[in-house]
């Protein structure tokens, strides 16, 4: 204890797999692969699906036998459960990677720098890929999401403040309603704006209507995430504010909200990511023009989801390649938003 020895004692890690166990696992997988290959050769079954299914069954059986010999029936059952749980994760994750790969693979063809400089005013969706672009869609999406943000941010955060700080008599029903609102189908939001504003008042589609429809979908996301964030702020801060003689308004505006700032920004970003790709309401209410239209109050306005939608429904190889390029851009944006939200909430929680 008193004298330091030269040799460093490494902490042991008994839970880590020894090379022997690792080799056994590899051997099991190998046996499974060989068995599945042989079975597919011997029986009339064919195709990738057959390989996978038989491989899965073979691995389960091999693992079962191994653990049964080593540790008995309970361990053998446990090994089956482990195999199934792992398979569940793999099945859940395969589509994600397939989607990401597909977008990268097919979106590449339509990507070029012109995309961000031109709109489709002079080009049809069937023109060669180098011509035209999605500038109008980017501008339109930006404006509509911006309008939605302007409406939803105050309402969402006020709702969260009402639920966490004021805790009035309506807290429980409002919590319930916000949850119910987050389940409103996007097409219903579009229909609502149509029935409430477009048909009786404006009689024409415009970017503003798109922003309204998106805000209905955005409010619950912002409200619920902000509520969680505000709940994490320790009560000591609020008490300190009140003890210093602050009114509730000053305590919340000068202490609680600044303390939760990064979390609230995260909530906002998640709200943006939620609505950036909404297609159905925009198809109904925003029209979707082909030229850059910076005025949300007048004339149809294009948007990224609408651009993708139009390319897909047009149905020629060029237009579909355009759609994939549009999806590539849209998903890159969502991805960036997501990373921003993660980084912010990560740095917020460390403090």
């Amino acid at each position: 204890m008193s004298q330091t020895t030269g040799t460093k004692i490494k902490p042991t890690r008994p839970w880590k797999r020894t090379p022997k166990q690792q080799a056994l696992i590899t051997l099991n997988l190998l046996i499974g692969a060989v068995v599945s290959y042989l079975v597919v050769l011997a029986t009339p079954m064919k195709g990738k699906l057959a390989y996978l299914a038989i491989f899965f069954i073979a691995v389960i059986v091999v693992n079962f036998v191994e653990s049964y010999i080593k540790s008995g029936l309970a361990a053998a059952k446990d090994s089956i459960a482990t195999s199934f749980a792992t398979a569940g994760l793999i099945i859940a994750v395969v589509p994600i990677f397939s989607i990401l790969f597909t977008i990268f693979d097919r979106g590449r063809a339509g990507l070029n720098f012109n995309l961000f400089l031109h709109d489709m005013k002079a080009n049809g969706p069937n023109d060669p890929l180098g011509q035209g672009g999605l500038l109008h869609a980017l501008v339109g999406s930006g404006i509509m999401v911006g309008i939605a943000l302007l409406i939803s941010l105050p309402i969402g955060i006020l709702t969260a403040i009402y639920l966490t700080e004021i805790k009035g008599i309506y807290s429980r029903p409002i919590k319930f309603l916000v949850q119910a609102m987050s389940g409103v189908p996007s097409i219903v939001a579009g229909l609502f704006i149509l029935s409430a504003i477009v048909f009786p008042i404006t009689k024409s589609s415009s970017g503003l209507m798109g922003g309204f429809a998106l805000s209905i979908l955005m409010i619950p996301t912002i409200a619920r995430t902000s509520e969680e964030v505000l709940l994490l702020i320790p009560n000591d801060l609020r008490e300190a504010g009140v003890a210093l003689g602050g009114t509730q308004w000053r305590t919340i505006s000068l202490i609680v909200v600044p303390a939760a700032k990064s979390g609230l920004i995260t909530a906002t970003i998640l709200g943006l990511a939620r609505v950036a790709g909404e297609t159905a309401p925009l198809v109904l209410v925003s029209g979707g023009g082909d030229a850059v239209n910076p005025n949300p109050f007048h004339a149809p306005m294009g948007s990224l989801p609408f651009y993708i939608w139009k390319g897909f429904t047009f149905g020629t190889p060029e237009s579909i390649a355009r759609s994939w390029a549009g999806i590539f851009v849209l998903l890159s944006l969502i991805f960036l938003l997501f990373i921003a939200a993660r980084t912010l909430s990560g740095s917020g929680s460390k403090k």
Binding site: A92, L158, L177, I187, L191
Partner: protein, 335 residues
């Protein structure tokens, strides 16, 4: 203080009890008012959706009555002047309601086992680094726009699912819903169900994972101390604890799947008929029908579509409310 009988009281007089009240300042009153108004906005918006869709759809709903939900004809008749004749036209959304429930139920049946296994793996099996990455990836997947799932489903997934459909048809055609006379496998409700399942896997997974991770640690450790393997611990402790939470998560997924528009529109061959046979390439759901018919709809048909939207809204609201009640009762945050 009273001064009526000072000598009768003991020398150390205790002051009367004071009631401490704060009078809210003006700024506080304003602030509370504003926040309450903000909080009530969700009530206002939901109420307005109900009122406006009901108002627009009222005419059609009144002329169709209960037939709007039970009938499966959608015929727009025009009189000689070219206007829509409401009395002669029939609007019934039963075919699409059946399609909605069929696709959504199929999605839930496919997604629940996968999501629960995935959540179990992430909570109890995964190494820490893998867990972090996978949770982020699955959260990201929940933010994918539905048109992306639609296009991916149409171009990439559909050939595979058609093949699975053929296999199912070959071996399980004795089950009524898998029966089909004419072998048309493309763009069937089965494909839509699989795409919807992939869309709701992230939701069900994250709700289940949250519930599973709240399993009381002492019970988990007690099970291990009694010599349970991981699987017997899960069966004895986690599943009884998290069962209702998983049900709630599944219903949230159901609600999302029922309201899905674009993904279903892209992969499904929209045909206006009641079709129980999931492998046959014809079907639809309410949301995608609204999108399909909206483009060429006249004023009256648009009103009928509003009424259909109202039915869809009420249906999803019901499912979501039940789901959220279940999830929040088990301690989760819901979606």
């Amino acid at each position: 203080m009273s001064t009526t009988a000072p000598k009768a009281k003991p020398p150390v007089s205790t002051p009367d009890k004071r009631e401490i009240t704060t009078k809210p300042r003006f700024s506080d009153k304003v602030f509370r008012g504003v926040a309450t108004a903000g909080g009530l906005s969700s009530l206002v918006i939901l109420g307005l959706i109900l009122i406006f869709l009901g108002y627009q759809g009222f005419q059609v709903l009144r002329s169709e009555g209960i037939g709007f939900i039970t009938g499966s004809n959608w015929q727009v008749m025009q009189d000689n002047a070219g206007n829509t004749d409401l009395a002669a036209s029939t609007f019934g959304i039963a075919a699409m309601l059946v399609g909605t429930l069929l696709c959504a139920a199929m999605a839930v049946v496919i997604a629940v086992p996968i999501s629960v296994l995935c959540a179990l793996y992430l909570t109890f099996y995964a190494p820490q680094f893998l867990k972090k990455i996978m949770v982020a990836v699955i959260d990201l997947m929940a933010a994918f726009p539905s048109i992306l799932f639609g296009m991916w489903g149409f171009f990439i997934l559909m050939p595979h699912v058609e093949y699975w459909g053929r296999l199912i048809h070959k071996y399980f055609s004795w089950i009524p819903i898998f029966k089909m006379e004419i072998p048309v496998f493309t763009r069937s409700p089965f494909v839509a169900g699989v795409v919807l399942a992939i869309m709701i896997i992230p939701i069900i997974t994250s709700v289940s994972r949250e519930i599973f991770s709240q399993t009381p640690l002492d019970r988990v450790q007690a099970a291990y101390a009694l010599g349970a393997t991981r699987w017997s611990m899960i069966r004895a402790v986690v599943i009884p604890y998290g069962k209702s939470g998983v049900v709630g998560g599944a219903m949230l997924g159901l609600g999302r799947a029922m309201g899905e528009t674009v993904a279903v529109y892209t992969v499904l061959n929209l045909v206006y008929q009641i079709n129980w046979h999931v492998l046959i390439g014809a079907g639809g759901n309410v949301a995608s029908m609204i999108l399909l018919k909206f483009g060429e709809a006249g004023p009256t048909e648009t009103r009928a579509l509003m009424a259909a939207g109202l039915v869809l809204f009420l249906l999803t609201l019901l499912v979501n409310s039940i789901a959220n009640t279940i999830v929040s009762r088990t301690g989760g945050k819901g979606r």
